[in-house]
Amino acid sequence: MRLALAALSQQRSAWRHGYDLLKETGLSSGTLYPLLMRMTENGLVEAEWREPAQPGRPPRHVYRLTAKGFALALELAGQDAAASGREALA
């Protein structure tokens, strides 16, 4: 989930397609989609349908972090930074 949160928090207000998130996180579709479902159910991610760029194609789902999701992403990023700082000092 950290990877998905990190990828979505890079561009906080931008809507991202599922396949773009797949490429950015390196996760498989079998991992990413269940994650997105859980995160949407828990209010961390919001999703909506967008009309396709090319006519004749189906609408695509896009995702972005909610305020709650962004706060969690910052918290986890802070924890990761603190952990790597302790490792550097050790």
């Binding site: 599922g18 396949y19 498989s28 579709s29 079998g30 989609y33 695509r60 789902h61």
Partner: protein
């Protein structure tokens, strides 16, 4: 991507979307819409396989998915094999109707081996074959109706199958043919009818819950 790989990935993707649609139709469409983007990058097959994994993981997590899995399990493990068994039995000379593997002659009453009686019993074999064929067809149609969730049709075919089994038992019993094997067959059909009633009630409860409450 080669033609065969493209066909395989499309087939896997179709299966994934159909499976996901049972419990999460929106997410099924979301995955399907991204397939073209993955295919454009040459990653259609791993994308499709991942979506199938996601769909199969989601099925047991929701009541509608658990119902679909259970319905398919009942049909594929009981109804279809029973139909296949009846069909094979007809093809192999009604091997499944008579206990001990001795065929019709082994199932006749003592004294039934006289020339006249043997001829008589041989003449009823086509009737037994027709009844067993009716059982086979009944099972196939029952399986189809259950997978279609057409409970009215499933009930009709279950009743017809049970009637064919009962007719077979009564017919063979009236002719003093050993009916132990066919009694087991009749008991299995009766159990299938009970299972059908349970499955259709479960589906009814799911539909009522879906109408009354938000989906789980």
């Amino acid at each position: 991507m080669t033609g065969m790989a493209a066909m395989l990935s499309r087939a896997i993707m179709a299966l994934a979307v159909t499976s996901m649609r049972v419990s999460r139709p929106d997410w099924a469409e979301a995955m399907a819409a991204e397939y073209d983007a993955a295919a454009g990058d040459g990653h259609a097959l791993p994308f499709a396989v991942g979506c199938l994994v996601a769909a199969l993981r989601e099925l047991p997590s929701r009541a509608s998915g658990r119902f679909a899995l259970s319905n398919h399990a009942v049909v594929l493990s009981i109804v279809v094999p029973m139909g296949a068994l009846q069909l094979a039995s007809v093809a192999l000379g009604l091997s499944d109707l008579f206990p001990g593997g001795g065929g019709l002659s082994g199932a006749l009453p003592s004294g039934g081996s006289s020339k006249w009686l043997t001829g008589f019993y041989q003449s009823i074999v086509p009737v037994l074959a027709v009844l067993q064929l009716a059982l086979a067809i009944g099972h196939v149609r029952l399986a189809w109706a259950m997978l279609d969730r057409d409970w009215a049709a499933a009930s009709r075919w279950a009743a017809r199958t049970l009637a064919a089994a009962t007719t077979l038992i009564c017919f063979m019993g009236a002719l003093f043919i050993d009916i132990r094997q066919v009694l087991v067959l009749g008991a299995i059909v009766a159990i299938e009818v009970c299972i059908l009633m349970t499955v259709s009630d479960w589906h009814g409860d799911l539909c009522r819950a879906r109408q009354g409450d938000p989906p789980d």
